[in-house]
Amino acid sequence: MTARTDAAERADRRRRRVPYLLMAPGLIWLFLFYVLPMFRLVITSLQEGSLERGYTFTGNFDSYASVFTTYLPQLRNSLLFAFGATVIGLLVAYPLAYAIAFHTSRWKTLFLLLIIVPLLVPFLLRTLAWRVILADQGLVVSFLKTIGLLSESGRLLSTGWAVLAGLVYNYLAFITLPIYISLDKIEPALLEAANDLYATPWTAFRKVTLPLSMPGIISGTLLTFIPAAGDYVNVELLGNRNWTMMGNVIQSKFLVIIDYPAAAAISFTLMAIIVTMVIIYVRRVGTEELLT
């Protein structure tokens, strides 16, 4: 063995340091604004007391129990709406992304812009606009009444459907764009190759396009499901009391009732449930075996 020179070893050490240096800003940020507050949240959730008397740490798990006793319907609503918005979003976004990626060579940028432009309008304003669209005297309602899908006294605003519509709309860009990106990356020659190898257009879609767009589907559905499960604005503006979601409970506990331990416990539980579901989902759908 020959001895290595000092210079080579120093260069080597420097090279090994580079990835850590690159990650440092992100890691520091995450630690200060994610890990620390998270830790604080867990501590708070185990406290007892009130705003006047102050909170003390007692290691009390009662706040957690309340999630499953008192707030089970809200938890169900959150998951149901998030799931519904994701499924409908996928059904709307996939054909949309597909059309933009494969059938609009000249207008691609315009269509992408149209998808992104609504995001420039504040979330609250966009959702408020849906109150107008779905209003009792609005066009949508009168059209649905004309074709008989809605009874004479029926309405859309302040229903679960309105919440679902709002959620789908608000997260549509986040599901469409990742799918578009994964579809756009597919070389057209791959589909020609599939056709050349006796695959009909439908088989080529199932065996080539769909598997290759799976990464986009996974990130798109996650980007919809996760924020939708924690959303409270859509129910607030478009729904009614019966459809309250976990987000509304957390919001009122933190800002209205000022019960920090309960709010913290609910937040933490909701997060744990979502993380668990995401892990199961990515494991099942994201493995390569399922892509073949």
């Binding site: 020659a189 190759a193 050349d196």
Partner: protein
């Protein structure tokens, strides 16, 4: 041996018959009334500069492009207007187009599975095919884990495993480096002879086409300008374009002055094989390939019927041969390639005599 491309209309049905095949993209005519028969089991190359319509022709045979007019028959059956998956043809794509999400085995098995071949047959045929292209050990890997040359062979295996009667190759070696390309040229030729099917090979590389093909069609502006066996069209290119595209040529302006004579504008007279003058009259270009010219020291016996004097202006040694530029009085500067057999080498400013056989003199129209 089957018949050549020009005389295929006889006993056997050609593998491919194109009649008046035309493709236009807007105002651009990519393929212009192409009529062509390709005999079975032939290694047929279509060459030409980019934009000459060679790839469009191939894509129409494969079914990826609808012809604007004309018909395509494969083994006697009219397939015009049918989809690629309905044609008994497979393609090796320029970019290989391997499915990145599938293993090498599944890539090769793709066509068989679509045809509903049963599982044990799929295993056997894919295994055999991977052996043929020396890739059995990579069956479980993904395309991105393979080198360019290996991917190229997977693309070939994926097409051949379906036992097509016709294989289309679209610049299949374009992405490989020179050494690998030379190896794959021989490999492709070996496989073609082993499986015994018709190959149609599109390339812009004339050397590659001449190495592999039994017959070559040179395309220009959507039409076939010259077609025949490599030796035949190399020795008698007939048009200035083919002479320039297929190898290097020395072309000199002249006029036909007899049944076997052409006189250069500068006054020199050359003998030309009468067969090559049969179609020509008036103003023509006389051509001779650089390697057909012999150089002898000025004053020595030139040894060939056509000769002229010149002065060496440049010489470059490239191993197997030496390339000379020789300035002549009546024909401008000519390129001469001399094999390095240990004979005299010439230096710039040496006076020399250039000479060549009338047999190696060809005549091209404007």
């Amino acid at each position: 041996m089957t018949t050549g491309p020009n005389s295929a209309a006889g006993e056997t049905t050609p593998a491919v018959e194109l009649v008046g095949l035309t493709k236009t993209f807007g105002d651009i005519v990519a393929v212009d009334g192409l009529t062509l028969d390709i005999a079975e089991n032939l290694f047929f190359a279509i060459i030409g500069p980019s934009g000459c319509g060679k790839t469009t022709t191939l894509r129409m045979i494969g079914g990826f492009e609808e012809p604007t007019a004309g018909t395509i028959k494969l083994h006697g059956r009219d397939v015009t207007g049918t989809k690629p998956y309905q044609r008994p043809v497979n393609t090796v794509f320029q970019s290989y187009a391997l499915f990145p999400h599938l293993t090498i085995f599944e890539n090769v098995a793709f066509g068989l599975r679509r045809q509903g071949v049963d599982k044990t047959d799929v295993d056997r045929r894919v295994g055999d095919m991977l052996d043929l292209v020396h890739l059995a050990q990579t069956a479980k890997r993904k395309p991105r884990q393979l080198s360019g040359g290996q991917r190229q062979r997977v693309a070939l295996a994926r097409a051949l495993v379906n036992h097509p009667r016709l294989l289309l190759l679209d610049e299949p070696l374009g992405a490989l480096d020179l050494k690998l390309r030379k190896e794959m040229q021989l490999e492709l030729k070996r496989i073609q002879q082993e499986v015994g099917i018709t190959f149609i090979h599109v390339t812009h590389d004339q050397e590659e086409a001449m190495t592999m093909a039994d017959a070559i069609a040179v395309m220009r502006n959507g039409r076939i300008e010259r077609m025949g066996e490599p030796v035949e069209i190399y020795d008698d290119p007939r048009t200035r374009f083919v002479a320039g595209f297929l190898g290097a040529s020395n072309l000199m302006d002249g006029t036909v002055t007899g049944t076997d004579e052409v006189t250069l504008t500068g006054g020199h007279t050359f003998h030309v094989g009468p067969d090559k003058l049969a179609r020509a009259n008036g103003a023509v270009h006389v051509g001779v390939r650089p390697e057909k010219i012999h150089l002898t020291p000025s004053g020595a016996d030139p040894g060939h019927a056509n000769s002229m004097a010149g002065v060496v202006t440049d010489s470059s040694f490239i191993g197997v041969s030496t390339h000379y530029l020789v300035q002549t009085e009546t024909a401008g500067e000519l390129t001469v390639v001399v094999q390095n057999l240990g004979a005299t080498r010439f230096a710039p400013r040496d006076s020399v005599t250039l000479s060549w056989d009338p047999e190696h003199t060809f005549v091209v129209a404007e």
